[in-house]
Amino acid sequence: MTAPDLNVDHLFDGLIHGDRLSLARSITLVESRKNQDRIVAIQLMTLVDKHLQQCAKNMPSDQTLAGWTMAITGPPGVGKSTFIDKLGVQLVELGHRVAVLAIDPSSVRSGGSILGDKTRMHQLASRDEAYIRPSPSGSTHGGTSAATKEAIDLCLAAGYDTVLVETVGVGQNEIAVSDLVDWTLLLLMGRSGDDLQGIKRGIVEAADMVLVNKADSEGYEPALETQRYYQSALSLFPPHSLPGWKVPCLAISSVQEYGWENFWSTLKDLKALPELPDWIKNKRANQRVSSFQRMLNQALLEHWSSSQSRRTYLDLESDLRTGQISPSQAVWDRLKDWGLKE
């Protein structure tokens, strides 16, 4: 099968004019693990980056929140997709254009994955103002998270002013999704008393807002109990980096109306915080730097482990495992090999 040529100018042109096919192909491009594709992707991302800067500059300063990106994290089955479906439709009705990047975990064994999230967002999917793209996490190869950042930018460039990222959140080898977006929402489910203690503090700490989902029918009581628990637990956490912001915990239902009024008014409070624009500007600036660092890390490692020297790489891995060489020594040797160190 011959896919249409991936011509950077065509893609970029289609992209900024909101052509879905171009956006779809662009995301495929930045996700591709092929070297040739990477080269094209870099060209494209350069154009996109410039374009986004341009847009930001033209924006009146009180509108820095335009292009708001948000991660929805939480364990599988808590209702992330369902929540996004409902949230997305409301955003669309408020006049937003919404893009959703749904990252499905891949099977460790086969590498394949079933990308089912989109079918759980059928209401949003049927709206012209929304674009939903499920992506495999590719956890066996790493690297998708870098692409996720690029995909977010592509969506922004294609004119989607709100980008939502659905992901199970921090996996071991992956980059914390909160490092890719403006705002992180953690979804939890109601639990009974004993189970509550078990939730990892680290997961909660990365969140800017916590929601306890499924506060309806049988789930209502447990959700409220859990919400009260976190409310008090969160008050003991170190203060949030955004001055004046105390991470809230709300109970909500993604299939009924409960909690939504509260949710929107909390968001309103947030946007009313005078420090928010600067905080975000700052965060985004930092993210650009960390993006670079991450990409460099990954590029170096990928370059070296997949190039002609794959054998040496595997040998080194096994030397590391068996303790023949220390990690620090190994890095030093590499740098010397590349002529970066004497």
Binding site: R20, S32, S113, I114, G116, P134, P136
Partner: protein, 1128 residues
């Protein structure tokens, strides 16, 4: 009050297997119930049920065990009551035996070599040669790479000594010693008897043959010179009990005259069973056991069968296949070790000579490997009916044995017998029965209870042995063929033809748009109008459907769940307008919405409101339609979605429980509506399990309803419809499906179904034609009239194997029911998708087992048709879709133009208003609260709207305005398939191909698995999705009921490489071109389309021409499909 099954209920049923006091008390009244049933049906003269006779017979059995007239003085006088001895003669293989599959080979033809090869490759393990092998060729088995040291070669009509010489020579070349040669000759046999003029000649031939045979007996201990076949005896007009007596006498003569200085060679006895299932089993077993009694203990008896399948003057190939099926089945269960089937003689459309040889072989393979009979040949151990029949069979045989002795010799007896032919036949009342004393047994429809069914009788709780006391003796099951296609007028004509041809009830299949509440002119409907069933848009269509059919006499079953309100309203209104009031209507409406959410997906509204509608219909029917079954609680679709028997039972009964609760909450008394609940099972290929399933279901339901407070025994009786499994049918070698369906139908009958649908053999390819529908119907007529099965109540009851399987199923199902009960009942359990997940997991496991040929499907993963074979040229039904669509749309236009719009609007508003009221009540009333018993009047309003000519679409939208339309959330299981198939080489090959694709394309292959149109059967799609993900694909799932445009949009947004469409409902010719066009419009021609499902073979090429990359039929292995699409 919210009735629940208590912990104690489960504990009790899980731990004990016996009748409780309630049941014991009831079963004492069995004769009264029987008598009442007979009076009710007015068929008293048809049955000798009278107590005196029954009890006289029973007591005679008990007090004087049937005595055997001493034929062989030294042998025991009675035949032991168990079948053990007969079965132990065979090589045992884990509770069963594998009989040898015999094929007939024409020796004197050009193609001798190839036919031998083909027979061996396609599963034969005994060859029976017809004609002279030596004269025909210089055939050398060894040099052909064939050696049959594990085969029995049957050379009956041919010179035994010459054959031994030849075999020895061939054997030497292949290094096989003469002692290993298994050969069956006919140096002496029933033929020798028939040519003897008198008893002296007979004796001379005996002595002469023995003299010859002694020569070779030492050298060839496994070769047999004696073949005692019923074949030629039956030709002379003997009854089979007489033929068996002759065979026994001859065998005895041979053994007595044998020169003891030589080892006794094997003796072969061969029966030619007809279709009388139970009687033939009994006769097989009697012959087998008697043979054991008459010879030395180390004597080898070959126990063969060559079923009679052609009836004089019959040229019907299908009928012949059915006869073969029953013949092989009774032989396998009766302890036969080799079954030889001749080539098919009768006509079947489009078959070749090779097909005629292959089909009978396949038939045996199907029975042995798919129906798993090789594991169940001990099925009859303990079955009371068979034990009784064996007594009668033996009595018949032994009486003849005495006559033979008395007449001084076999030849004299034969002469005498032939002179009396006319008279004897009259004596037997020219009865179709196998034994002269059948009338007595006939009366004895109550079988003596064996330990495992003690205290349980048919027609009484817990109905283990059948919901009626007399079962088919009084009234056979109803032949109810599910049919419907294109327009009401076409279907009406089809129904009339079928009724004229012996069908009893009607069962209407509606098309998918009707199921989903769309009128034929709805944009989402176009592709499916009139395809999988008939299109019904209004009362006018419904009237057309039943035109000139007497609705007050005809029982009508309607498969409708989603759009149940308008369809039932149309039915009632149509009957009303033709002068039949609703209380006269008989039949069934499926109305089983729970299983739609679980597996079949033709729902409309969300579960909670749908359940309110179900309860409304219960209410309406219980008040207005006392003879109408208000629901048919269906396991069929679960079975077809891959649920094993335990799950099918458990979830169907759990659904039943839920309906009981809703009915009771709607204010109905359980005894008011429970008797009108009916069930619907699938019967698949697992013969014993399917029989057990029906029996287990009845037992469980009886106990459950009692636990829920039912007082009336009628509430406790589970009455059921059955349908043979459509899923089990294959596209490959479609005539195999006739046999499959016959086996499945048989298990439904042996399980005691009340009505039955048999699938047409071309179901896996297209909609049934008149031709295939006739064969399907004939299968049931054959079982009713020729198998003799209608004369028995629970004929296999008491069988240790069957009762054990029944108990296992009861327990297995209980565990799952308990799980559902703990989750708060089925409606809630479905929220967590637990039942769905269990079913899909089972389906994925099964698929993997099939793909790795652990489970055999003949013609698909084993014994495939040779590639060279011509595809069968079967005529297929084509509905002219354009015409149907056009005619529906124009009648809709006409309807809308001629009705009173104001009245229509008013009636619809009233309906919508009522629906809103229902919704509010459902939303705010707690689940437990009881409603007023007069309900909401929804049905009444719907009938009014129907009478005003509101359309189906309008009525459903009126309800939809309140309830909304439900969208399912698909999910799929990963890893299940891979775990099963792990080490399969082709699976690995496909995995590697995926990896190669990944490195060259920079990402994994990505496919969107889609279902288009209104077809909700998603088993195939889900298995493909799960399997492909396990192979390493990234798989996107399409929403159910997508339009081609929505699908194309999703494909583009997700940027997939392929769209894989799964189609089961004949919509592909509309939907696929639309999909390609939509992709083209989105500038996405690079996205390829592949298609899988039920696609007629002749469509493959045109579809490929139209740009479809690959087309896959049912039975394609997933890894193979993956390799193919990756290749292009």
């Amino acid at each position: 009050m919210n009735p629940k099954l208590s912990e104690a209920f489960f504990d009790h049923l899980l731990s004990s297997w016996e009748a409780d006091d309630f049941e014991k008390n009831h079963s004492l009244h069995w004769l009264n119930v029987l008598e009442k049933e007979c009076k009710d049906t007015g068929l008293t003269e048809n049955i000798c049920y009278k107590d005196k006779m029954v009890s006289a017979y029973i007591s005679s059995c008990v007090t004087n065990p049937v005595s055997v007239i001493p034929l062989m003085p030294s042998q025991s006088a009675t035949i032991s009551r168990t079948l053990d001895s007969a079965n132990e003669t065979n090589k045992s293989d884990g509770g069963g035996t594998r009989w040898r599959i015999g094929s007939i080979i024409q020796s004197n033809t050009e193609s001798l070599r190839s036919s031998i090869k083909e027979a061996l490759e396609s599963g034969a393990d005994a060859l029976s040669f017809v004609g002279d092998l030596v004269a025909s060729s210089e055939f050398m088995p060894a040099s052909e790479g064939i050696w049959w040291n594990y085969l029995i070669a049957d050379i009956r009509a041919w010179d035994y000594e010459a054959a031994l010489g030849l075999w020895e020579q061939w054997g030497l070349q292949a290094g096989i010693s003469p002692s290993e040669i298994e050969l069956q000759g006919e140096l002496w046999g029933t033929g020798s008897l028939l040519i003897a003029q008198n008893d002296q000649e007979y004796e001379e031939s005996l002595r002469e043959s023995i003299r010859k045979a002694c020569y070779s007996a030492k050298r060839f201990p496994m070769a047999s010179p004696v073949l005692l076949s019923e074949d030629s005896l039956l030709d002379t007009g003997l009854h089979s009990w007489e033929a068996v007596a002759v065979i026994l006498t001859m065998a005895k003569d041979w053994i007595d005259h044998w020169d003891k200085a030589f080892p006794l060679p094997p003796i072969c006895v061969e029966r030619c069973p007809g279709p009388k299932f139970m009687e033939e089993i009994a006769m097989h077993s009697v012959l087998g056991r008697a043979m054991k009694e008459i010879g030395p203990t180390d004597m080898i008896v070959r126990h063969w069968a060559k079923p009679i399948c052609t009836a004089v003057g019959h040229d019907d190939g299908a009928r012949e296949l059915l006869g073969m099926t029953l013949g092989v089945l009774s032989s396998a269960l009766g302890g036969i070790d080799t079954v030889i089937l001749p080539d098919l003689q009768g006509s079947l459309e489009g078959i070749s000579h090779e097909d005629r040889c292959r089909l009978p072989r396949n038939l045996q393979l199907l029975l042995r490997d798919e129906a798993m009979l090789a594991k169940s040949t001990t099925l009859l151990r303990g079955a009371g009916t068979i034990t009784a029949l064996e007594d009668v069979a033996w009595q018949s045989v032994s009486e003849v044995l005495v006559q033979i002795q008395a007449s001084g010799g076999l030849v004299s007896w034969l002469k005498m017998r032939q002179s009396q032919t006319m008279q004897t036949i009259e004596l037997a009342g020219s009865s179709p029965y196998l034994f002269p004393w059948m009338e007595v047994v006939h009366a004895r429809i109550r079988q003596e209870s064996t330990a495992s069914v003690q205290g349980w009788e048919s027609g009484l709780p817990p109905y283990l042995r059948g919901p009626y006391a007399s079962m088919y003796v009084q009234r056979p099951w109803t032949i109810r063929q599910y049919a419907g296609f294109s327009t009401a007028a076409d279907s009406n004509a089809f129904y009339k033809r079928n009724l004229a041809a012996g069908q009893k009830g009607l069962s209407v299949a509606f098309d998918l748009p009707t199921h989903r509440g769309y009128d034929s002119d709805h944009p989402r409907a176009v592709a499916d109008v009139g395809k999988a069933g008939v299109a019904i848009d209004s009362i006018e269509d419904m009237k057309g459907l039943f035109k000139e059919l007497p609705l007050d006499q005809l029982s009508v079953s309607m498969t409708m769940n989603g759009a149940v309100v308008p369809v039932l309203a149309f039915f009632i209104a149509a009957a009303h307008e033709s002068g039949v009031s609703s209380e006269k209507l008989t039949g069934t409406i499926q109305n089983d919405i729970l299983k739609e959410f679980m597996v079949r997906n033709t729902y409309i509204y969300p579960p909670a409101y749908s359940m309110q509608i179900v309860a409304e219909i219960f209410r309406y029917c219980s008040k207005q339609m006392p003879k109408f079954n208000s629901i048919s609680i269906s396991g069929y679709h679960m079975h077809e979605a891959g649920a094993p028997a335990e799950l099918e039972l458990a979830y169907t009964l759990a659904d039943g429980l839920e309906y009981l609760r809703y009915g009771m909450q709607a204010g109905l008394d359980i005894d008011e509506f429970a008797p009108r609940l009916s069930f619907f099972w699938a019967t698949g290929m697992d013969f014993v399990t399917e029989i057990a399933k029906l029996r287990a279901g009845r037992l469980l339901w009886s106990r459950i309803t009692r636990e829920f407070g039912a007082k009336d025994p009628k509430s406790m009786a589970l009455r059921t419809h059955c349908q043979t499994s459509g899923w089990s049918l294959t596209r490959q070698d479609p005539y195999n499906n006739i046999t499959r369906t016959c086996i499945e139908a048989l298990s439904a009958v042996l399980g005691g179904t009340q009505s039955l649908h048999t699938n047409a053999f071309d179901e896996a390819i297209a909609l049934p034609t008149d031709y295939s529908a006739k064969i399907a119907r004939d299968t049931q007529l054959f079982l009713q009239t020729e198998s003799g099965l209608c004369r028995w109540v629970d004929p296999l009851g008491g069988s240790l194997l069957l009762e054990q399987r029944t108990q296992e199923l009861v327990r297995g199902a209980l565990i799952r029911i308990k799980e559902i009960e703990e989750a708060g009942g089925m409606t809630r359990a479905m929220d967590s998708s637990l039942p769905k997940r269990r079913i899909e997991e089972a389906a994925a496991v099964k698929q993997a087992r099939i793909d790795t040929a652990v489970e055999i499907i003949v013609g698909v993963n084993a014994y495939r048709m040779p590639d060279s074979a011509q595809a069968l040229d079967i005529p297929l039904l084509k509905v002219n879709h354009e015409v149907v669509l056009h005619s529906q749309i124009s009648s809709l236009d006409h309807l809308r133009a001629t009705r009173d719009q104001d009245k229509v609007r008013q009636s619809l508003e009233a309906l919508a208003e009522c629906a809103h009221r229902m919704k509010e009540t459902t939303d705010c009333l707690a689940y437990e609260q009881k409603q007023e018993s007069n309900g909401f009047g929804l049905m009444e309003l719907a009938i009014e709207a129907a009478l005003q000519r509101a359309t189906l679409g309008e009525i459903s939208s009126a309800l939809e305005s309140a309830f909304g339309r439900y969208t399912a959330r698909p999910f799929t299981l990963q890893g299940v398939y891979a775990r099963q198939i792990m080490n399969d080489p082709q699976f690995e090959a496909a995995r590697l191909a995926v990896q190669a694709f990944e490195s060259s394309h920079g990402r994994r292959p990505r496919i969107l698995v889609a279902k288009l149109g209104q077809d909700g059967h998603d088993r195939g799609a889900k298995i493909i999705a799960a399997g492909f993900a396990d192979l390493g694909f990234d798989v996107d799932l399409g929403q159910l009921f997508q339009t081609p445009e929505e699908c194309a949009q999703q494909a583009v947004e997700n940027d997939v490489h392929w769209v894989g469409v799964s189609s089961l409902a004949a919509g592909h010719w509309t939907l696929i071109p639309a999909l390609m066009q939509a992709l083209h419009d989105l500038k996405a021609d690079h996205i390829r389309v592949v298609l899988g499902g039920v696609i007629p073979p002749e469509d493959y090429e045109p579809l490929k021409q139209a740009g479809v990359q690959c087309v896959f039929g049912p039975g394609t292995r997933l890894s193979e499909a993956a390799l193919q699409i990756l290749k292009a």
